[in-house]
């Protein structure tokens, strides 16, 4: 009559999954938030004709003449200012270059747009003054799929999401259960402790698969970001990534007693990785000296591997190193986390 009880590990995973499904907020952070972020950033940085660069011309005897010559450039948007207005506009960054009557170019050489404006303005004024161009190079314009910002961003978002959900999925739930004395109640039963921790990990892996599928499909359907490499390898990278961050999440949550403490600890660990690990921009800009350190971070390893597979169609040998780094984080996290874990 009564159904046979299911094995405890299965029961634990089922319960974890149900709890999560019923947690509307958690669902948003796992699925809604990264999609919104991808949508916002994808549109903000979508490939389009670059805007014209606003520049200023200081009022004077030759101002109108200069402005007309500069307006012929396809990239410049000149406007006439009084001396004071013009200097202010330059200082505040509203214009990238100010042309004095001389003509004199006034600009900040550390700003790339100012350097472009200077070259373009020089070109336009020289041509207006009668310079003859002799070479006339042929131009070929290429805006290729795979080299757009969104192509760079999507794998980064997948990586960031795997990190956040992996860490929070383990950390928050464990600390919450400890705070509610649920852990203590559970170890008062014959439940095997390893089953409990394993159930968190397995629950994570189920959600992780869904998250990645949703994000990758979204990137493909909305922005045309293709997975150029093999799906099998992508799956492997994601699973090892999920393992690495689950281990790290367990480690952080192993002794913490309050939600406030675990939130602080999580942010302490995750925020530097959001910045350094190449989610939104490449970490190539960091000094060479710190790069080995950055590459040892789990999110860097995951992002590198994801980009290699998704953008560059890399094979296993190219992503072996990041996979080893991720696996190492997972092994260390679980080994230490389980050893120092506090059940009460």
């Amino acid at each position: 009559m009564s159904e046979k009880p299911r094995p405890p590990i299965l029961e634990l995973v089922v319960v974890r999954t149900k709890e999560f499904l019923r947690e509307t907020e958690a669902m948003f952070w796992v699925f809604g938030f990264p999609l919104l972020l991808a949508l916002a950033l994808g549109f903000a940085f979508r490939a389009k004709a670059p805007d014209k660069i606003p520049i200023g011309v200081v009022a004077g005897p030759h101002a109108q003449e200069h402005a007309a010559a500069l307006a012929k450039s396809p990239v410049l948007l000149p406007r006439v200012y009084s001396v004071e207005e013009g200097r202010n506009a330059l200082r505040l960054g509203r214009i990238s270059l100010l042309v004095d009557d001389g003509p004199t170019f006034r600009f900040d050489p550390t700003r790339p747009d100012s350097r472009t404006a200077r070259i373009e303005a020089d070109d336009a004024l020289e041509a207006a003054a009668g310079r003859r161009d002799v070479l006339h190079p042929h131009e070929e314009k290429v805006t290729q799929q795979g080299s757009r910002y969104i192509d760079f961003l999507m794998p980064g978002l997948v990586g960031m999401n795997l990190m956040s959900t992996g860490m929070w999925g383990m950390g928050f739930a464990i600390v919450n259960a400890r705070m509610r004395k649920l852990l203590k109640r559970l170890v008062a039963t014959p439940m095997r402790k390893s089953h409990y921790i394993l159930s968190f990990f397995l629950g994570r892996m189920i959600w992780l698969t869904l998250e990645v599928v949703v994000l990758v499909l979204f990137g493909w359907l909305v922005f045309g970001v293709r997975v150029n490499g093999s799906i099998a390898l992508l799956t492997l990278v994601c699973l090892v990534g999920g393992y690495g961050f689950s281990g790290l999440g367990l480690l952080l949550a192993s002794r913490v007693k309050t939600i406030e403490a675990i939130s602080g600890l999580m942010n302490l660990v995750m925020v530097p990785m959001w910045i350094c690990s190449g989610v939104f921009f490449s970490y190539e800009r960091f000094p060479d000296a710190v790069k080995p350190l950055i590459r040892a971070l789990p999110l860097t390893a995951l992002n590198d591997a994801l980009r290699a597979v998704i953008n560059d169609a890399a094979g296993f040998p190219q992503v072996m190193m990041p996979i080893i780094v991720l696996a190492a984080w997972g092994i260390v996290g679980f080994a230490i986390g389980i050893r120092i874990f506090k059940w009460q």
């Binding site: 009564s2 009880p5 094995p7 014959p190």
Partner: protein
């Protein structure tokens, strides 16, 4: 000879500056309902958690059904059921899901639906834990303790904070479990609960056992079957009525006298008050209870400690 259900000898557990348990001996027989009675902070929870194998004592010996925690943890976990003082089960899971989860941990156990019926939780079967009343939550906690079909049930303050109706329901659950031959060890600071449920009681204070016996034996130890409580204006000093009672305790301006016969003592007391020219403000009497035992042993009341 079969071993006792629960036995401990010279149990000690000290925290930084508190001797939570300070040399405790207990023996709970099989089929018995045994109560640890004492005020908050007396060491009841530390004691029961040591017996449950959740806290390791500094010293002392614990045997449950003849087994000890270091050698037979898994076997013991299968044979005892525990309700902790303040466990919160997962808010988003339903009553049935929680019981089924706990059922999966035990090799043998009861059918979740049968058990929920026994505890009058069948109507709440599909309600989420977060939506339950205090009494329902507590009964569910006991359901989780009973699901593995235990021989011994440990209950740490099972009815604290519950309304009288819920308390009665829980007492019935305990009574039914005992009918099947189960042993119960519970802590409480409710005298009424201890008197109603327990065959024997150990009164605990400052980590020590200060008295042990059946409720009737403990009350008999007072050698005074009745209690007179009175206040007077002005207050009377103790020596004026010391001769007419077995013992007395003072709570703020209220004197509590332990007496054998109300018929003798009350007129004597009134005469003394009149002779001293004082005025009686309040007067009440009741038959001695465990509460009075506790007061006579510690000089303090249970509730306001």
């Amino acid at each position: 000879m079969t071993s006792a259900a629960v036995e401990c000898r010279d149990l000690r557990k000290h925290y930084a500056d508190v001797k939570a348990v300070d040399g405790l001996d207990l023996q709970v027989e099989r089929g018995e309902c045994f109560g640890l009675l004492g005020p908050n902070g007396a060491g009841k929870t530390t004691t029961i958690e040591i017996l449950e194998g959740l806290t390791v004592p500094d010293s002392g010996r614990v045997e449950i059904l003849g087994m000890n925690w270091s050698d037979s943890e898994r076997a013991l976990r299968e044979t005892i059921g525990i309700s902790l003082q303040e466990t919160q089960l997962p808010e988003k899971l339903t009553v049935f899901e929680i019981v089924r989860l706990f059922r999966s941990f035990y090799r043998d156990g009861r059918d979740p639906d049968d058990l929920l019926r026994d505890l009058s939780l069948d109507e709440k079967r599909n309600a989420r834990y977060g939506k339950l009343s205090g009494g329902q939550k507590q009964r569910l906690a006991v359901a989780c303790a009973l699901i593995g079909n235990p021989q011994i049930l440990f209950l740490d303050e099972p009815t604290t904070g519950l309304d009288p109706q819920s308390r009665l329901q829980l007492w019935e659950v305990v009574a039914r479990f005992r009918k099947t031959g189960g042993t119960v060890l519970l802590t409480t600071h409710y005298m009424e609960e201890a008197e109603r449920l327990c065959d024997r009681i150990a009164i605990i204070d400052h980590g020590k056992r200060i008295s042990l016996g059946t409720p009737a034996e403990l009350i008999a130890k007072l050698e005074a079957r009745n209690i007179i409580e009175f206040t007077s204006e002005p207050e009377l000093p103790e020596d004026t009525f010391r001769a007419i009672c077995q013992g007395c305790t003072k709570h703020r301006d209220r004197w509590q006298l332990r007496v054998d016969s109300l018929a003798d003592a009350v007129p004597q007391l009134l005469a003394i008050i009149e002779k001293r020219g004082a005025k009686l403000v309040t007067l009440s009497t009741h038959a001695a209870t465990l509460e009075d035992v506790f007061v006579s042993l510690t000089g303090r009341e249970l509730r306001d400690v």
